[in-house]
């Protein structure tokens, strides 16, 4: 049993391979269809959610940076909760960027053999994804060393790629263990707290371990006490949280951040 996360620079290829791997292994496929459920769960506009998954905020777009982060946090929290079930193939949800440190998650990158696009178009698309992943998670998704398995469809045909992925997923090193499940449930808890806080705040970073949560934020001297109290109250209400610690860095600009 494991989680297989498939990423590619081409959404169609990513989905097609993920679907075949899920069918071959009798695993559940977790893809962009869950965004509708995410939108319902957090009562947000599904269109904005889909938009947030591919664009970065800018002065000229309707999505503010704070809203964008909140929308991504909702997706992350929802996906992580679903991944706790195990035996899942996940694609199209950028899980490879936030399911980190989980040893039973096999991260696969498919280099597309898409001949319909020119080299320049392909390069542009990669640059866009790099920009998005850096802005969203401070991770460069085009950096191949961050994946467990990289398959080049220019050299390997899709059926062989599916076989390679299912074979690798069977390696003992990718099986669930107590440590990896705990890492995943800690990530899921941190993500739930993140959603609760980002709804009304910005400059939030959350880490969780065994129900203890550390929230790092920024605040000016005047807002510091109130912000700490609010964070403790909001985070404390999240299911699974037993203890909340807040670390505040001084906001040198003196701007209120939530």
């Amino acid at each position: 049993m494991s989680i297989i996360i498939i990423a590619s620079d081409t959404a169609e290829i990513e989905h097609s391979i993920a679907q075949k791997v899920a069918a071959a292994m009798d695993y559940q496929l977790l893809d962009r269809r869950i965004l509708e459920d995410t939108a319902k769960k957090y009562q947000i506009d599904p269109g904005k959610l889909a938009d947030a998954m591919k664009t970065t905020p800018s002065l000229f777009k309707s999505l503010s940076s704070g809203q964008w982060r909140y929308l991504l946090a909702c997706v992350e929290a929802h996906v992580l909760d679903r991944l706790l079930a195990d035996k899942i193939v996940c694609c199209g949800l950028s899980a490879h960027l936030y399911v980190t440190g989980v040893s039973h998650a096999l991260n696969v990158r498919i280099l597309s053999g898409d001949d319909s696009q020119s080299e320049k178009e392909r390069e542009n698309r990669l640059q866009q994804r790099k920009k998005w992943s850096m802005a969203a998670y401070n991770e460069d998704e085009t950096e191949l060393s961050r994946y467990d398995l990289v398959i080049n469809l220019d050299q390997i045909d899709p059926a062989e790629a599916v076989k390679t992925i299912t074979g690798a997923a069977g390696y003992r090193k990718f099986q669930v263990m107590t440590y990896s499940m705990k890492c995943l449930s800690d990530l899921a808890l941190a993500a739930r707290v993140n959603v609760a806080l980002l709804k009304t705040m910005t400059d939030i970073s959350v880490q969780a371990r065994d129900g203890s949560v550390i929230v790092s934020t920024k605040a000016g001297n005047r807002q510091k006490r109130k912000k700490v109290e609010t964070i403790k109250e909001l985070a404390g209400k999240v299911e699974g949280v037993r203890y909340v610690e807040v670390h505040v860095k001084k906001n040198l600009l003196g701007v209120t951040t939530g």
Binding site: G101, V102, S103, Y171, R172, K173, F174, Q175, M177, T178, Y179, S180, K182
Partner: protein, 126 residues
Amino acid sequence: MNEQPLKIMVIDDENIVGKRLKPALEKTGDIVEAFEEGETALARFAQEPFDIVVTDIRMEKIDGIEILERILAKSQRTKVIIITGYATVEIAREALSKGAFDFIAKPFKPSDLRQIIERASKELRS
């Protein structure tokens, strides 16, 4: 029906770990021996195999991964559980590849380890 008690070996160079785990694991009637040095533990294992070995990774002279390999070379049925305060994805994957039954990061509650031992016990008795 009464089941045979499990023979459990705990190896950790931090004396406190063995001291705490031994009584906690003995509560269910299992036989527990604690060791602070890998070599002494392996010598004891050579005299008589244990059902379950719980070992730390970072220890002087012999580390937990070597203990895992040497235990499994002697007794394939023994379930080796790795405990460590320095858990990483790489170490966890290495331990599992080399045959560890499970891997748990310190600190943990004795009840967490008990659950793993119960699973190991089921496999041993199946």
